[in-house]
Every structure is written in structure tokens, then in C-alpha cells.
């Protein structure tokens, strides 16, 4: 079943001589439960693509459908609500709210929705992410790996339709990297969580179901591994 579809996405930054074509007519679709890796040289448009898929940036042209919903046809507030319910974003630099503790950061999308926190799911996540004894620590009291685990928790808390990760291990040592990847794979295999992960690390890419290779704002190769 198709869960995510990009249609003729283009993104142009700047104007005239300074114009940068970050994405040029990118189209592809992702099946539910698929683990997709995006690779490519720096500046090839990977992050731009991911941000557009997650609804945090708008394409210059083209459309994104998530679960059949035309993402950018929504009004701004609908888009915000869409983001917190349907998209889980993970970044290289974690992007946690510095004044909120671990539990608050993880439950942020739920609380922002004005909903009750599902205690069982929270406990489950804290255990899985090995953050049980860090519940009330602030981000600056945590190591990089721990902060990244918190941001994974935040991305997963709402059971989003898709989790998008932009070089989630780019800032971690290999031991922590592998741990983070195992966690992502776990939620992919265990809960059928659809995953799109940007990575520079070939060994990580090879663990995915499918690898998209980008170059100059275009998809050069699209290989299904398993």
C-alpha cells in the first residue's frame, strides 16, 4: 500500500544569478512499512526533499501526498496539526526544546494537540529508548546519543504515518550510531513504521529496504534491496 507520494517536486532558492535549483522534478512513492535510505553528495538536495516531505518547507512546484492527503493544499494551521499527528522528524542536531525535560520533549506533539498522554506508550518508549532513569533531565544534561534517543521518542510518540530522519547519526560515534539505527529498525520491523532516512553512511544505507541516490537535485538511482 502506498503511504507517501512525491509528484514533480521542485525547489528553487534565490533569484536570477543567485538561483539554486535544490530539487528538480523529483517524483517517487513509498510503500507503507518501507525503510527508505536517501544518499548522495552534500548539496544534492536531500535535506530539502526531506523537509518538503515533512511539511516544514514548501516546494516551489509539485505535490506531496501523505496517506492520500495533498499536504500543501492544507491551510497553515491544518498543516501544523498535520505535522504533529502524521510526521515524526529526527535531525542530526536533535532539535530538542532546551527548557523541557526528557518526558516533556517526548510528549510535546501530544500535549500540543491538547490530548492526554498515553502513559503506557510513553513508558514503553522510555524503556525501549533506555531513557527510564533520565526522565527529568534537560537536554543539556544528556549525551548526544541520549538526546538523539529523545528526539526519536518525540518522533514516534504520536505513531505518525511516516518518520523522516536527516542524518540522525551524523553527529554520533559508531557505537551510538549503531544503537540509534537498531532503534529505528526496531520500530520499522516491530510496528511497521514507515521510515525515510538520509545518511552518509553506506553501512546504514545497506540496511534499508530501498536506496534513493540523489545528485544535483534529482534522483539518480532508485534501488530496492529487499
Amino acid at each position: 500500500m502506498e503511504i507517501l507520494r512525491a509528484e514533480h517536486l521542485s525547489k528553487i532558492y534565490g533569484q536570477g544569478e543567485n538561483q539554486v535549483r535544490a530539487l528538480e522534478d523529483v517524483s517517487f512513492s513509498v510503500e507503507k512499512g518501507q525503510f527508505v535510505a536517501i544518499v548522495g553528495p552534500s548539496g544534492s538536495g536531500k535535506s530539502t526533499l526531506l523537509h518538503i516531505l515533512g511539511g516544514v518547507d514548501r516546494p516551489t512546484r509539485g505535490k506531496v501526498y501523505l496517506q492520500g492527503q495533498d499536504v500543501f493544499a492544507q491551510k497553515e494551521d491544518q498543516l501544523a496539526i498535520f505535522r504533529r499527528r502524521q510526521v515524526g522528524l529526527i535531525y542530526q542536531f536533535y532539535n530538542l526544546i532546551p527548557v523541557l525535560d526528557v518526558v516533556e520533549n517526548i510528549t510535546l506533539p501530544v500535549l500540543m494537540d491538547g490530548r492526554q498522554v498515553n502513559r503506557a506508550r510513553l513508558e514503553d518508549l522510555l524503556t525501549t529508548l533506555n531513557l527510564k532513569d533520565r526522565e527529568h533531565h534537560l537536554p543539556n544534561q544528556l549525551s548526544g546519543g541520549q538526546q538523539q534517543r529523545v528526539s526519536i521518542g518525540r518522533a514516534l510518540m504520536n505513531s505518525p504515518a511516516v518518520v523522516l530522519a536527516d542524518e540522525p547519526t551524523g553527529n554520533l560515534d559508531s557505537r551510538n550510531s549503531q544503537e540509534i539505527l537498531e532503534l529505528l529498525k526496531l520500530c520499522n520491523t516491530q510496528y511497521g513504521q514507515t521510515l525515510v532516512v538520509i545518511t552518509h553512511d553506506e553501512s546504514i544505507a545497506l540496511q534499508a529496504d530501498r536506496i534513493l541516490t540523489m545528485e544535483d537535485g534529482k534522483i539518480r538511482r532508485d534501488e530496492v534491496i529487499r
Partner: protein
């Protein structure tokens, strides 16, 4: 508290210095507003006290009324205070001097408690009467009595024979006064001596009053003088039209201070000047507090963007800025009002005497300009301060909602932005450059200078 506000709250706690400075700004604004409103209210209060001292605490006076008139006024809903001076009759003393007879006639009148509360009777000696057997005579009468060899000191008895008949001779147009009472003779005890004459502004009759107190033993009234205060003050005109006496006279001096004069209203002018001053203060404080909020929002640009990227709506972000404003107000405004009140209180205590020489009658009245605590003054100051704060927060709150999430989530190492593209005037580091925003809506096309990419 919702989570976005919680984030705001925690940021405020973390940025203690900036929070304190903003509270201080709001405090100063509230103090200045309170100073102005309290000064205005105190000035009006001072002028009212003077007017009361000079004429009395009433809006209108009905003269030569009947018992029915008294009844009628007491049934008027808008009347808040009434004083009744019952004229009991007339008494005369005559003195042979230098070959001719000098005769002086007085009105003997009994005031009820309301009358003594509302009308200032200026005594030279001792006290006001407290029952119908006590009387305050005038200085003039005391001189007559002394010349007649009668006792005239305080505590002395004086026997007055009172008749119901008197018509002013010179004033032909004067209304015919009722002669309903009966003549009587009564011994009074002198408890006080009034100023030389005591005409109580009764120019028509032109007689001095000898004042006693109205109680159950008071004789039948010939006619009444009714002093009335209403709420709202403007209702006196309705009473005036009903004519609860043969003649009536409005206390314009006081009405002017209650905004109910048909001519110029002094209090309205004072409040207008306050309004102008407050507008000036508003303009000043808005620019001050605006900066504080601007800095707060730009310092938190990254956080706003992050919150948006995890799905905060515009309304949530805007509300969080207003939440910050409300929290700061909750601390700054009460403290400011207190400070402003104490400040103006001290100022007037030190300088209040300066105004005394300026206004007629203020010197001998002993009334001084003092700060009056007024709920209305505080409420206006609070409202003006709140308005200043929310006006200041408005633009930054809007700006908070304009921060695109991409600005926050773009990893800083992705590319570098040349310095000159960062908008000047946004002081905080990490402030959000305009051109990113414009990339979100490609139509907003302003050239933002070259970019260099690593």
C-alpha cells in the same frame, strides 16, 4: 498551563534578567499612569472639598418648600443625600441707640442631621446644636444681647418669641411665604456663636439664621429649605423641573466638579488633560516595552521554529507571547500602581501646600491637596498599562507566527549566510533572517544578496 505556554514560562525563568527588566518597564509604565490618574482624581477631590467648604455638599437647594415637598424629595430614587432646614418662625430684637430704634429680625430654624452634614456652618465658638433646646446665635445677635444687658455667653439661656409672620418689604417680587405655624416662646441654651451673619445664601429673604437642631420636640415648620444630592449628579435637573420649593438654586460650583454642569465642567477638563498625558506616556512606554518583547521573540526564534516544526499552530505561538505579556503584567502592574500611588502621595505631601495660595478660599479652609486612593484611578492606570503591554506585544507576537519551521530545523552547518543579509535591528544572535521567510512564499521577491555555499 498548556505546553507552549510552559515553554514560554520556563524561558522566562531562565532569562531572569530580561524578564525583570521587562517587568520593570511595565512597572514604570503603570506607576506613571497611576501618577497621572491619581493626580487627576485627587485634584478633582480637592476642588470638591473646597466647593463643599464654600457652599455645601449638595447639588441643588429648594427654598420655601412644604412638608409635602420634603415627602416628595424623600421618595425620589436618585436622591442619595438630603438635608432639611425647617424654618420655625421669625424673632426680632430692637435696640434704642442714638435716638432711633434699630431692629434686627432673624429666622429661627432647625436643621436635621442631614443639614448639618451637608452644609458648612462656620462657627466662631464651641459647637453645633444637638437638640431642639440648643441654639447657635450669630455674632451680631450676641452684640445686641450684650447691649441690652442680657446674657449672651456660651451656655447662657436666651428666650426667643417666635412668630410665623414676616414679609420682606423691599422685595416686591418675592413669593408670598406660607404662614401656617403658630407663634411660640421658647428658652434656648446658647451652645455656639456663628460668624457675624449666617445668611445661608438666602439672598431673597436677606435674614440671618439662628440655628437649632430638629428633633421630636421641634415645633411645626413654616417652610423648609431642602438640600439634595443625587446620583448621578445630572438627575438634579429632573428634580429642578419638579420644583420642590417656591424657588431653587443649583450648586453649580460642585456640579461643575461632577461633570453635571450645563456649562463648563472642571472635572471633565482635568480628566481630558490626564487623557492627553496618558497618551504621551503610552507612546513612550510602548516603544520601551516593545523592544523587550522584540528581543524575547528574536531570542526564541529557533524555539518558535522548532515548536512549529513539531506542529504548534500560529494561534498557539501568538498566545504564548500574549501569555508572557499577561504574566509580566500580573507582576508589573500591581507593583507599579502601588509605587505610582506612593510616589504621587509623597510628591503631593511635599508640594501640596504650593497650590493652596493659588485658589480662593483654600488658605483659610485648611484643605490641602492630598493623594486620594481611587479605584477608578487604579483601574484606568491598569487598563492603560495593559493596553501598552499588549500593543507592544502585538507585533512581536505576529512575528513569532511568521517564523517558518524550516528556519529552525535547517542544520546550521548546511550552508553559510553572508553577514549582510541578516536584517539589522534584530539584536539577538540566531535571529531569523528575512530571506528564508521569502523563500517560503516565492512571490515576495526582494533581492537579498548573494549566498555562498560550502
Amino acid at each position: 498551563m498548556n505546553i507552549v505556554n510552559q515553554v514560554t514560562w520556563k524561558n522566562m525563568a531562565q532569562n531572569k534578567t530580561r524578564t525583570m527588566v521587562t517587568v520593570l518597564g511595565i512597572l514604570l509604565a503603570a506607576a506613571m499612569f497611576t501618577g497621572v490618574t491619581t493626580l487627576g482624581v485627587s485634584l478633582v477631590d480637592y476642588l470638591r472639598q473646597l466647593a463643599v467648604y464654600q457652599k455645601g455638599d449638595y447639588f441643588i437647594r429648594f427654598d420655601y418648600g412644604t412638608d409635602e415637598n420634603v415627602q416628595g424629595v424623600s421618595q425620589e430614587k436618585s436622591v442619595t443625600k438630603a438635608g432639611d432646614l425647617k424654618a420655625l418662625g421669625y424673632t426680632s430684637v430692637s435696640l434704642e441707640q442714638d435716638g432711633y430704634t434699630k431692629q434686627e429680625t432673624y429666622v429661627v430654624a432647625a436643621g436635621d442631621q442631614g443639614f448639618y452634614d451637608m452644609v458648612t456652618v462656620r462657627l466662631e465658638a464651641v459647637r453645633l446644636p444637638e437638640n431642639s433646646g440648643e441654639i447657635v446665635i450669630t455674632g451680631n445677635l450676641a452684640v445686641y444681647l450684650e447691649k441690652l444687658g442680657l446674657p449672651c455667653g456660651l451656655g447662657d439661656p436666651v428666650t426667643l418669641s417666635v412668630t410665623p409672620e414676616y414679609q420682606p418689604e423691599e422685595n416686591a417680587s418675592f413669593p408670598e411665604l406660607p404662614i401656617t405655624g403658630t407663634a411660640f416662646t421658647r428658652e434656648y441654651r446658647i451652645v455656639g456663636i456663628n460668624e457675624v451673619v449666617c445668611k445661608l445664601d438666602d439672598e431673597a429673604l436677606g435674614l440671618s439664621y439662628l440655628l437649632t437642631y430638629a428633633d421630636d420636640h421641634t415645633e411645626q415648620a413654616l417652610w423648609h429649605r431642602l438640600y439634595v444630592k443625587t446620583d448621578p449628579a445630572g438627575d438634579v435637573y429632573g428634580l429642578q423641573d419638579k420644583g420642590y420649593g417656591l424657588t431653587e438654586k443649583a450648586n453649580t460650583q460642585l456640579l461643575e466638579l461632577y461633570g453635571a454642569s450645563r456649562y463648563g465642567n472642571v472635572n471633565t477638563w482635568i480628566y481630558r488633560i490626564c487623557g492627553v498625558l496618558m497618551a504621551v506616556i503610552l507612546a513612550g512606554t510602548v516603544s520601551l516595552i516593545y523592544n523587550a518583547f522584540s528581543i524575547s521573540v528574536s531570542e526564541r526564534t529557533k524555539q518558535f521554529g522548532l515548536l512549529r516544526s513539531v506542529g504548534a499552530t500560529n494561534a498557539q505561538l501568538r498566545r504564548s507571547v500574549y501569555f508572557e505579556a499577561a504574566t509580566l503584567c500580573a507582576v508589573g502592574i500591581p507593583l507599579g500602581i502601588l509605587g505610582g500611588y506612593l510616589g504621587i502621595g509623597l510628591t503631593l505631601r511635599l508640594t501640596g501646600h504650593l497650590i493652596r495660595g493659588l485658589l480662593a478660599g483654600s488658605e483659610q479652609s485648611g484643605i490641602v491637596l492630598r493623594a486620594v486612593p481611587s479605584g477608578a484611578a487604579f483601574a484606568w492606570a491598569a487598563a492603560a498599562s495593559a493596553a501598552a503591554v499588549f500593543l507592544s506585544a502585538w507585533a512581536p507576537a505576529r512575528r513569532a507566527t511568521k517564523i517558518p519551521p524550516i528556519a529552525a530545523v535547517r542544520q546550521s552547518l548546511d550552508y553559510q549566510i553572508p553577514k549582510n543579509t541578516i536584517r539589522s535591528g534584530v539584536p539577538a544572535p540566531g535571529a531569523f533572517p528575512d530571506f528564508w521567510r521569502e523563500n517560503i512564499t516565492p512571490s515576495a521577491g526582494e533581492n537579498t544578496g548573494p549566498l555562498s555555499f560550502p
